[in-house]
Amino acid sequence: MLTTMSGEFGLLLAGVLFALGLIGVLIRRNIIFILMSIEIMLNAAGLAFVVAGARWQQPDGQVMFIFILVMAAAEVSVGLALALQFFRSFRTLDADAAGRMRG
């Protein structure tokens, strides 16, 4: 499997996905959607690592993607547990309701 392709497309795809995730974080108020958009952004960063690893034919990019994957798993488990506690306290998923927290 030896082909030649435009390496810019992979990086551009990563950039577009990251920007879409950023827009998602900024415009949504639901905590579940914010967590999903953070997943999109982490995935886009991993895509950029893998494209760079494919450019130089080194496994380091894939290793970095595995670490991003581990971090995303840990982050999403803690984030979803926080969202559950948040919903139990406030009966809503609105992120602005966190302003009512006391202590």
Binding site: M5, S6, G10, L26, L47, Q57, M71, L82, R88
Partner: protein, 173 residues
């Protein structure tokens, strides 16, 4: 093939951030992750493509589905979402992010990488690199997963008693 899956990823991600129902958005997110996995495979990284399907589209999305099921917010949240999604709320952040994306595209197209010769980086190389020079990072990742597990377990308790969420958190580690 790379271009088709790339465009599928972009379109489905666009659908993720605009859906009102959380489950629909989650299904589109799974489509997006699968197409990114296809991009990884075409780029010559089959191990990472498999990990993307198994861990992202499998474990993490199952975790999201469980939480959406436990929250059990149905049509009421869809109505609430349509109230929150007013044009005045999303035009500003979206246009500013689009400006940032335009700068990024400008930088990449001017001094980016032109052509890459794709040959497969096999899982053996990844494993040798992972447990050779990156061994300390693997240990740190295991500590991160342990702290994530303990944190999720602690936060997931309901009022001091051990709830039934313990078996849920063990899935992703």
């Amino acid at each position: 093939m790379l271009y088709i899956s790339g465009f599928v990823a972009i379109i489905s991600t666009l659908m993720v951030i605009t859906r009102k129902n959380a489950v629909h958005a989650l299904l589109y997110l799974i489509v997006s992750l699968l197409s990114v996995a296809l991009v990884f495979f075409v780029l010559g990284a089959p191990f990472v493509a498999a990990l993307e399907v198994i861990i992202y589209a499998g474990a993490i999305m199952v975790l999201f589905i469980f939480v959406i099921m436990m929250l059990n917010v149905g049509t009421a949240s869809v109505k609430q979402e349509s109230q929150w999604m007013s044009p005045a709320g999303w035009v500003g952040p979206a246009s500013l992010s689009a400006v940032l994306l335009g700068e990024l595209i400008y930088v990449m197209t001017n001094s980016g990488i032109r052509l890459i010769n794709v040959s497969m980086v096999v899982p053996k190389q990844v494993g040798i690199s992972l447990f050779g020079p990156y061994l300390i990072a693997v240990e740190l990742a295991s500590m991160l997963l342990l702290s994530g597990l303990i944190g999720a377990n602690h936060l997931g308790r309901r009022n001091g008693r051990w709830g039934n969420k313990k078996d849920l958190e063990g899935k992703n580690s």
